[in-house]
Structures are given as C-alpha cells and as structure tokens.
C-alpha cells in the first residue's frame, strides 16, 4: 500500500528513510499528497554522437572484442555536463539526457518506491522516468531518464521540482540488494545485466 505524506514524514523523522536535502515535511503533510517532490540535480550526462555503429545491450551481443571494451565504449561516449545553480540546460526536441535528483535517497528494508514525472512537465513533452522502481535499501541520487518528446526546447534548471516519489511498505527481506546505481551522486549509464534466457537463445542460434 502506498503510504501517506504524514507517514513519509514519520519515516524521515525517525531516520529510517533518508532524503537529503530533506523537503519541508509539514508542507507535504498539509497538502495531503502521498508523494514528495524531488528536484533536478546539477549533473547531466548524454551519449555523444560517434563512429560507433551501435551499443550492445548485453554481453552476448557485444561488438567489441571484450565486454569490458564494450562497457568502456559507453563511458567513452558519455559526456557529462555540470550546471551551476541559477543556470540552465536546454533540452531540444527529440534529445535524451540522463539527469539525477538533487536529493540523496536511502531506503530502509521495509520501503520500496517508484518515481514518476510531474504532470506540468509531461504536458510540455518532458518524459522523466521510464525505469521507475526503487528497491529497498537503495542509497544514492536517482538517475532520471529525461527525454523531450515535445516540439519546443525546454529549459532544465537545477533545483527545479522535476519528479515525485511514492513509497510503499514491503515485508523486509534479509538479503541485501546491491545495485550498480547505488551510492552515486551523478547519473550513470551503467551496465545492462546479462539476461540468461537471452544468452541461451543466442547460443543456440550460433
């Protein structure tokens, strides 16, 4: 069940849930909403245009001589932008960029969450998030997949409220989930995990 704004406040005040910088929890409770708004951080990353014909999604589809080379290719093509507070980043129609939330989230074992866009941005053609799930014990800034599917350039200003997070309770698992995206302040492309079924399918084909 999704928890209320008051419950989010209680989780934060008890120290079980960490949101830094902590939003105004009284305002969240007063609004009666079941989510908290998160702001855009200052780091953005995009993939540069390059001579690479394509990027392999998984290990078995790699084009480079090794999977490490394929991963390095992603890092080589990553272009980071740092936007100071008060400045802006213009996302042109049809362009895609990874951003991150200004807030650092650390979830306890008993909470999971999902992040969604805000309708005011969506109506301008800005898609915020497509991989919305946040697992328990995640700790870090959320990476946002930001795309401008509208027809006009959009100005992204660090500190602006860009997405919202809903939390829901879960039965705590004893296992510690480790995520390659945990512990990061900047957005990262990361590595697509090996898909065992796909691997078998690919091996049978060859």
């Amino acid at each position: 069940m999704i928890i209320s704004g008051e419950e989010i406040g209680e989780e934060v005040e008890s120290g079980r849930l960490c949101v830094v910088p902590t939003p105004d929890l009284n305002a969240v409770a007063k609004r009666g909403e079941a989510s908290i708004d998160l702001c855009l951080g200052r780091w953005l990353v995009e993939l540069r245009h390059s001579r690479a014909s394509s990027l392999a999604a998984t290990k078995s589809h790699r084009r480079k001589p090794s999977w490490e080379a394929e991963i390095n290719e992603v890092y080589r093509l990553s272009r980071y932008h740092f936007v100071p507070f008060g400045d802006r980043f213009v996302l042109h129609p049809g362009r895609f960029v990874l951003g991150s939330t200004l807030e650092w989230l650390a979830l306890p074992p008993t909470l999971a969450a999902f992040v969604t866009g805000k309708s005011s941005w969506g109506r301008r053609g800005l898609i915020i998030e497509t991989a919305a799930g946040i697992h328990p014990r995640f700790s870090g800034c959320l990476t946002l997949e930001i795309a401008n599917v509208g027809e006009v350039p959009l100005e992204l200003t660090p500190g602006i409220e860009i997405c919202q997070v809903f939390f829901h309770r879960i039965a705590a698992s004893k296992r510690n989930v480790t995520s390659q995206f945990s512990g990061k302040r900047r957005p990262v492309f990361g590595i697509v995990k090996e898909d065992q079924i796909l691997k078998r399918l690919t091996q049978r084909q060859s």
Binding site: F82, W104, G159, R185
Partner: protein
C-alpha cells in the same frame, strides 16, 4: 620574413586559441574574466608589434618581440590550466565553498580558478601573474583532482595569494632581517672557516662581499617563512584534516627538494604540529614519525652555512608567523567546529550525506575521520562528501526562501 613576422603570427595564434578556449563550458565566471584579460593582453601585444615605432626602430621591434615571446611562454601554461578547469573530474561542488574562503581572506574582488595540474609538485611556488592580481589559481594534482580529501591543501595554495594580497612579506621583512643577522652571529665561526679568513662582523651590512652572507639567507628565509605561513593558514582553516591531507600527499617523502632554500620536511612538520596545538587541533601523536626526512643534495661548506642561517632565522620567526595567521584569519574565517564535524561524521557512518549549511572544513574533517576508520570505501565517501557540500550550498542559497 623575419622574427617580427614570426612573432606576429605566434601572437595571432595565441589570441585565436584564447577565443577557442573561451567557447568551453566554464561553470564559473572567473575563468571567462581571466580569458578576457588574456585577450586584451594579446591584443595589446599585437598592437605593439604593428606600431609605427616598432616598424621604424630595431630596438623597439626586438623588445616588443621578446615581450611577446615571454608572454606566450608564461600564459600558455595558464591557458591549459583554464581549459582543465572545465574537466568534469573536478569536484565542482566544492568550488563555491572554496571561493567563499578565498573571498573572506582576499576580499570581495577575489577571483578563484580551481583546476588540475599534470605537473603538480607540492614543492613549488604557485604562478603569480602581475596582470592578473586579483586571481587565485589553485591546481590539484590531475590524478587526484576528484579527491575531496586533499582539498585542505587548497588552504596552503590560498596562503600564497594571502601572502601577496596582504603584503605579508613587507610586514615580516624587518623581523626576518633581524633574525638572519642574529643567526649570522651564531654561525660566524663556521662562516669564517668556510671562507678561509677572518671576517669583520661590523661591516656585514655595508661591505658588498659580506652582504651576500646575510642577503642570501634573508631571501631564503623569506621564502621559507612564506611556506610556513601557508601551512599554518591551511591548518587554521581546515584543522586536523590539513595534516591528514599533507600526510596523504607527501609521506614518507618526495625525495630531496628541487630547490635548496625550501624549508626542510622535518622543520615543516615540526611547525605544523606546534601550530596545531596552538590553534587547538590535536595533531596525531606520531605525526612526525610518519615522514622520512630525505637525504639532501651535496652542498659546499658555504652553502651549508648560509642554509643553516636561513633555517635558524625561520625558526625564530615561527611565533610571528603564528600571530600573523591568527590576526589575518581571526575575523575572516571561523574555527573548524568539532561538534558539527561529529554530527556530519554520524551521517557519513550511516552512509548518507549530511543535511545543513555545513562548512567545508567541518565536512572534510568528518570525511577524514570516516576514511581513517575504514567504514567507507574511497569512492563512496567521496560521493557523500561532494553531495554534502552541494546540499550545504543549496541550503545557503535557499535560506529564508519559501
């Protein structure tokens, strides 16, 4: 074609390169201001090479070319430094708090460029450009440029700017001279022995030959005092984390200093420990033992004597330097807050950034404590420290706003 044509071409290309560098993604205004000044300098050089007097007079033409060549030599390195300040490996989150410290120490018009050096050496004096008097250039070693834990060393680098802007050398000059003359007295027998004849002490300040016996140690001691001043200022600003950062970068040693007059490592450490105690920060009990004093270069007896005089004079100046650092920082820089560092340390132990308008020294002191306890790996800790500073900036900038 002759050298004036070549020089015109070189100045033109430099000017054009400044324009190209200007198109980079600078995150702070200071670098662009610096580039504007470079553009003006090279426009003036181009004008002087094309002036009527340069066309008519050989001497003027030659001097204009030499001046242009020297300017290219000096500012080429700076241009690379400015370009590297845009590198996303740099911890941009830390620019604002370091800039704040720079402004507090150097005045509201201070400009800060934070970048990285591929030729970093902890034993060199930073570049100072007479055409860029308000600028402080801080370069971190390129391979360490994302390492927040070495940021306390920026206190040392800022110290060189404080030394110039507040004319500390002028404040200390008379005391240094007195200390050097006293030290000359103490080493008189050694000096006579290495010179090979009796020397008239009463003519020390008037005899041209004898003057070198105190003028050289005076110059060395002034430079040593500047280094000690910078270390002490770094400690005053950052507290214990300055010692940790220094140890991280320098211990056990870097081999013998490339310049003879640089303060010896053991003396530097001795001064740092003394100053830490005076400022109220406890230095690790075995701090001195964490370094190994490198064997020095072979020197002549006279050089050894002059160096000993300069070292002894610098020893005598220690208290005066402590007082100067205290006076210059007292109303400008708050003391590191142990309680606040303790609070931040608690958050870091919980693997989360700290919320609040924390000061950079408190965050780094907490960071070093966390690093030394080994509870967090370097990369994770670095991320948390950067985020903590970013949140502090966010809090400061949004304070009182709804």
């Amino acid at each position: 074609m002759d050298y004036i044509d070549f020089t015109r071409q070189k100045v033109f290309l430099f000017h054009r390169e400044v324009g190209r560098v200007r198109t980079s993604d600078f995150h702070h205004a200071a670098a662009k201001e610096c580039l504007s000044i470079l553009e003006r300098i090279f426009a003036e050089l181009a004008a002087s090479l094309n002036s009527r007097s340069a066309r008519r007079d050989d001497d003027i033409r030659r001097n204009a070319c030499i001046r242009a060549n020297v300017s290219i030599l000096i500012y080429q390195e700076l241009l690379g430094f400015l370009l590297r300040s845009t590198n996303v490996r740099n911890p941009f989150e830390l620019y604002e708090p370091i800039y704040q410290i720079a402004r507090d120490l150097l005045g509201r018009n201070a400009r800060l460029i934070l970048s990285s050096e591929w030729k970093f050496s902890p034993f060199t004096y930073p570049a100072a450009f007479k055409d860029l008097p308000g600028f402080a250039f801080i370069g971190l070693p390129a391979t360490e440029s994302e390492n927040v834990l070495i940021i306390p060393l920026t206190g040392h680098e800022l110290g060189h700017s404080v030394w110039r802007v507040h004319k500390v050398a002028e404040m200390l000059a008379a005391q240094v001279k007195t200390a050097v003359l006293q030290s000359c007295d103490e080493h008189w027998a050694h000096l006579e022995r290495v010179v090979g004849r009796p020397l008239d002490r009463s003519r020390l300040e008037t005899d041209l030959e004898l003057r070198s016996l105190w003028v050289t140690p005076f110059q060395w001691s002034m430079r040593q005092c500047e280094e000690v001043f910078c270390d002490l200022l770094g400690i005053r600003i950052f507290g214990q984390s300055y010692l940790h950062a220094f140890e991280y970068l320098v211990s056990p040693n870097f081999g013998p200093s490339r310049v003879d007059w640089y303060p010896p490592l053991d003396r530097r450490i001795h001064y740092m420990v003394l100053a830490s105690n005076i400022f109220g920060f406890e230095a690790p009990t075995d701090f001195k033992e964490r370094f190994v004093v490198p064997r020095g270069h072979h020197r002549s007896g006279l050089e050894q004597g002059l160096l000993a005089i300069s070292h002894r004079a610098t020893d005598r100046l220690f208290s005066a330097i402590v007082n100067l650092v205290s006076d210059l920082s007292q109303s400008r820089i708050p003391m590191p807050d142990g309680m606040e560092a303790e609070r931040i340390f608690g958050d870091l132990q919980a693997h989360r950034p700290s919320d609040g308008p924390s000061s950079l020294p408190d965050v780094i002191n907490a960071g070093w404590r966390t690093f030394l306890t080994g509870t967090l790996k370097f990369d994770g800790l670095n991320e948390l420290l950067c985020k903590t500073m970013e949140v502090a900036e966010f809090r400061r900038k949004t304070r009182g706003r709804t």
